[in-house]
Symmetry: C2
Subunit: 131 residues, 2 copies
């Protein structure tokens, strides 16, 4: 059971952007500061943008900004944007037909709830204050 490094890298980059908020920062700066491959981070920022979590300006002196205040953006949003829906077991996401009579389903459902509660409980602001 693991989250991908996508989620790790993305969260790090978003925390970095939370620090500089409401200023913007280029991928180049982000990748150097967080030691993430520039080309890979480029793709991650692309999907974060597609999901509306960051805004971008192109061209020279362009870069990325958070689309919301750090106090209003949660780690859960970032992670689901990059890794897809949080659903620890297929049966919790795909409406299993036998869920009602299945002994296992309760545990996966509760687990999903706990994970979401934790991840959506952390705003980027909370994470930047942590240090």
């Amino acid at each position: 059971m693991k989250f991908s490094t996508r989620a790790e890298y993305g969260l790090k980059a978003m925390i970095n952007l939370a620090h500089t908020f409401p200023g913007q920062k280029s991928i180049k700066e982000l990748s150097e500061e967080e030691s993430i491959s520039l080309k890979y981070l480029e793709r991650l920022m692309g999907t974060l943008k597609k999901n509306g979590l960051v805004l971008s300006t192109k061209g020279q002196s362009g870069g990325y900004v958070l689309s919301k205040k750090p106090s209003q953006m949660t780690a859960g949003e970032v992670i689901e944007a990059l890794d897809g829906p949080i659903a620890p077991m297929k049966c919790t996401s795909s409406n299993c037909a036998i869920a009602k009579s299945c002994n296992s389903s309760t545990i996966w459902t509760e687990l999903e709830h706990q994970i979401k509660k934790t991840l959506y409980g952390y705003t980027l602001k909370k994470l930047t204050d942590k240090k």
Copy 2:
């Protein structure tokens, strides 16, 4: 973020064994009742045995039994036996050098704690009673 079907299948099989406890049951029966490929389940039971969660008797009319009472065996044990250590991010398992100054590490650590709390909070007995 997903657990493997290994964990799902294994947990189902163990819940089944909890129902028949302290009786034993063959892989053939288990695989038919839970609709899991016999050969695949064979392997899963093998690793469960290696981890001491089940006992087996070979030969005709052989099979598997839980090594502990259902009230003393948790879903967490089963899942970690099959899927490896519960550690949502590499940095929480491999003693990252910069963990203390890392803004992200707290969230992964808390998440790991919450997941373990949930999974080790469910005994097989609790799951069999659920229906």
